[in-house]
């Protein structure tokens, strides 16, 4: 499975997350009241890394959570077999929090829509922002990210694969042709 191109190396992933952390602080005038919630699967380690960077930069422990959106998807009748439902864990009160949702790739926007529904069922945050490592375009819903590590125009026939040390043993973002992956 040779990638068509390497989009981000490990160093570039690190720098992108550092920049996003700075942007979050600038936009929110600090890190007080913030919470980071990662969307399964790779959004979770990304949220943890961002929380760590915010802690380093601002000296504030930013709470993190994890969100599974399976029960909120609008395409479940099109999914083959049953999707595995994973754990949702938001161990803090969302009220008056500025929540930053974190995911690896922003594509059609349907995952984010489902995540917004799921999050609002858990509480009423003051605001919700969106941070993604890669925005590959092709939106089907009026959703945009507040923080983007890398804007990457892609074709529908391409696949963006994000690998992270916590889940894949290495930090890397690659572009593949869909047909070579099948």
């Amino acid at each position: 499975m040779t990638p068509k191109a390497t989009i981000l190396t490990a160093d570039e992933v690190r720098r992108a997350l550092t920049r996003i952390a700075h942007e979050i602080i600038e936009r929110n005038k600090g890190a007080e009241q913030l919470a980071l919630i990662g969307i399964h699967t790779r959004g979770i380690p990304l949220a943890a890394r961002l929380a760590h960077k915010l802690g380093e930069l601002e000296g504030v422990a930013v709470p993190t959570g994890m969100l599974d959106i399976t029960l909120y998807r609008d395409d479940l009748s099109e999914v083959a077999h049953q999707p595995i439902i994973r754990e949702t864990q938001v161990p803090f009160d969302l009220a008056r929090r500025r929540v930053v949702l974190v995911d690896d790739v922003l594509f059609t926007g349907r995952t984010v829509r489902a995540a917004l529904d799921a999050l609002i069922d858990l509480g009423r945050p003051e605001s919700i922002q969106l941070a993604v490592l890669v925005d590959r375009g092709h939106r089907e819903l009026p959703i945009r990210a507040d923080y983007v590590g890398k804007n990457l125009p892609t074709a529908r026939t391409e696949v963006v694969k994000v690998k992270l040390a916590e889940t894949d043993g290495v930090d890397l973002v690659e572009l593949h042709d869909l047909e070579t992956l099948q």
Binding site: D68, T70, L71, Y72, L76, S77, E78, V79, A80, H81, Q82, P83, I84, I85, R86, E87, T88, D117, A118, D121, L122, G123
Partner: protein, 311 residues
């Protein structure tokens, strides 16, 4: 690579369900249980679908539990009670089911006094059917919530022993548990008076029979008391209720023989101080109300497994 067996379309019993699928179902019940602990106890997973609860036999907890489970998943629910239906005018079960299906019902939950009724609904509706109890034959979701409650206590069913004490002969719960628990790695000891203990069950893997309750509970991690189903007995099974209670009641004296920390289950409804003593039913070992609570999560998971996704 070996192809995985086809996904079961119905939950009529456990014959088509592999241990892997059953474990996945219980894993997803954990998530459903979390949903029930949230401020908004509802998810949109079954939005747009209609579930019909067709109960041809009395039930409170199972019907309410299924209806709540379906509503928590955002399904529409139509409740069908046999007493108030055209069955009283002579309409057959087949015709009733075909009419309901014409109203675009997407799934059925069926309880019936006749064994095999849920199979019949499955054949004529062409829709997923969940057996909510058919005669003495099966009550699979009750067995699932029993298994889930034991798993919740010990983390796993593997290597655990569940003693089922009482009227085994008339119990569809016992039959479903006998089918399910060994698939998940647990052993089952069935116990009751010889008249209420069908000898053929001893031939099943992972199952032993005894008429001695102290022997049954010794080493058990969970003890399930079964309701004495007097309405199904035509007589001659018991010398007297008092004698039955004296020998087979799950009480403190009997529980002293069980594993330290063994839990007590009862599928309900209970005849207090007959098959189970009130102090045990309400005591610290009792997980009877937790079973009721777990019923909703388990049934949400069952509905999800049968109604979401495609082959």
């Amino acid at each position: 690579m070996t192809a995985s067996p086809a996904r079961p379309r119905h939950l009529l019993d456990f014959a088509d369900w592999t241990p892997e699928r059953l474990s996945a179902l219980l894993d997803n019940a954990d998530t459903m249980s979390q949903v029930l602990d949230r401020p908004v106890r509802k998810v949109p997973a079954l939005q747009g679908l209609t579930v019909c609860t067709a109960f041809f036999e009395n039930s409170t907890r199972t019907r309410v539990s299924f209806e709540l489970a379906a509503r928590r998943m955002s399904a529409d629910v139509v409740s069908f009670a046999a007493g108030a239906s055209s069955l009283g005018k002579g309409e057959s079960l087949r015709d009733t089911v075909e009419v309901l299906t014409a109203y675009r019902v997407d799934a059925y939950v069926v309880r019936h006094h006749a064994a095999g009724a849920a199979h019949l609904v499955a054949r004529y509706s062409g829709k997923p059917v969940i057996n909510a109890g058919d005669g003495r034959r099966a009550h699979p979701t009750q067995a699932l919530l029993d298994a889930y409650t034991v798993r919740q206590e010990y983390g796993s069913l593997s290597g655990k022993t569940v003693a089922i004490v009482g009227d085994v002969r008339h119990s569809r719960v016992a039959r479903s548990n006998v089918e399910l628990l060994p698939k998940l790695g647990a052993k089952v000891v069935l116990c009751g008076p010889a008249t209420l203990l069908p000898a053929d069950l001893a031939a099943l893997p992972g199952v032993t029979l005894t008429t001695d309750p102290r022997e049954a509970v010794r080493g058990a991690h969970a003890v399930m008391a079964l309701r004495l189903q007097q309405e199904r007995m035509s007589g001659g099974y018991l010398a007297s209720l008092q004698e039955y209670a004296e020998h087979y009641q799950v009480n403190e004296r009997l529980m002293r023989e069980a594993e330290n920390g063994a839990i007590v289950l009862h599928p309900g409804p209970m005849n207090r101080d007959l098959e189970i003593s009130a102090d045990v039913a309400d005591g610290p070992r009792s997980r009877i109300l937790r079973q009721v609570d777990n019923g909703q999560a388990v049934r949400m998971s069952v509905l999800y497994h049968l109604l979401v996704g495609r082959e």
